[in-house]
Symmetry: C2
Subunit: 199 residues, 2 copies
Amino acid sequence: MSQPALQVWIEFASTYSHVAAQRVEEVARDAGVALEWRPFLLGPIFQKQGWNDSPFNLYPVKGAYMWRDMERLCAKHGIPLRRPSRFPRNGLLAARVATAAAAEPWLGAFVRGVYLANFAEDEEIAEPECVARVLAASGGEAPEHWLARAASPEIKQRLRDRTDEAIALGVFGAPTFVARGELFWGNDRMEDAMEWCRS
Amino acid sequence: MSQPALQVWIEFASTYSHVAAQRVEEVARDAGVALEWRPFLLGPIFQKQGWNDSPFNLYPVKGAYMWRDMERLCAKHGIPLRRPSRFPRNGLLAARVATAAAAEPWLGAFVRGVYLANFAEDEEIAEPECVARVLAASGGEAPEHWLARAASPEIKQRLRDRTDEAIALGVFGAPTFVARGELFWGNDRMEDAMEWCRS
């Protein structure tokens, strides 16, 4: 029986997803695990919990810790980080593009590029110009094609369905790794998730 | 310059503190790091955030994940776990005893014993009989002496001061490791905290 792919559920506004996104392809390669990106939106999930903002903004003491923890974590892994002037940023457009590009070989580079734009280059990832730049730099041909695809009713619906699927799986934060219905929440659980996938 | 001790801030109702408490003495010994237990209460801190219950109860999806994650984590580390019939349990009495016993050589055994009572033996750690049994099993002589000390105004005030100190440090959850004012939140950060302590 072939081993299942590890699903990587990410939200482009999520800080710890930045760390996970920069690391996960290399960790998966070393572990011999296949990956499937699952871009989704945390906003609707947070709203169900009564939150209309990031919990890191709603609970400033936890937020202050998170930024310090991110500094240490990114330094440890050699991942660029500059605290963005706006947090959280709206990742809807980037999530739609990543949904449309599910089968493209440059998807991983695009995902990493969006996180770098948000969390290392302080760019407005909600803006089409920014997403187009990342697309071009990732090897995605014809950015305008992907932006048009992202705006299609089909892709918009696919991302809504993805977010519903996340809720049905019990996903409540990002990143979340899923293998055979088993959830592993957070960058800290990446290695355990790989292990689970191989077992 | 001698290296600072690593403070281990724990709340007896906290699930991940159970994992940390069972592991931390061995990890610290291997790392050559001295420990200082810091029992405190999360209740007043949660109340400041508008929570009158554990966030794992207030957010059941997160709670369901936590119990599954605890199962995996305890299995991985060989730590006993049985989901308690009551959660969270009131750790006030045990925290007062641990505060009173700060200088006792059996404090670590007592801390581990209280967590095992709560999270492996499903016992009522709020009850003096339970705490007395754990005291006796930990090598603490004269449990009645320690229960009386725990009930003294001096120790009650010392624990309140501790919780105020936790708030001043920016502690928002348990376990939290603190070295030279640097916070590391969660059992997952134990090794990073040891490293920080030695650096």
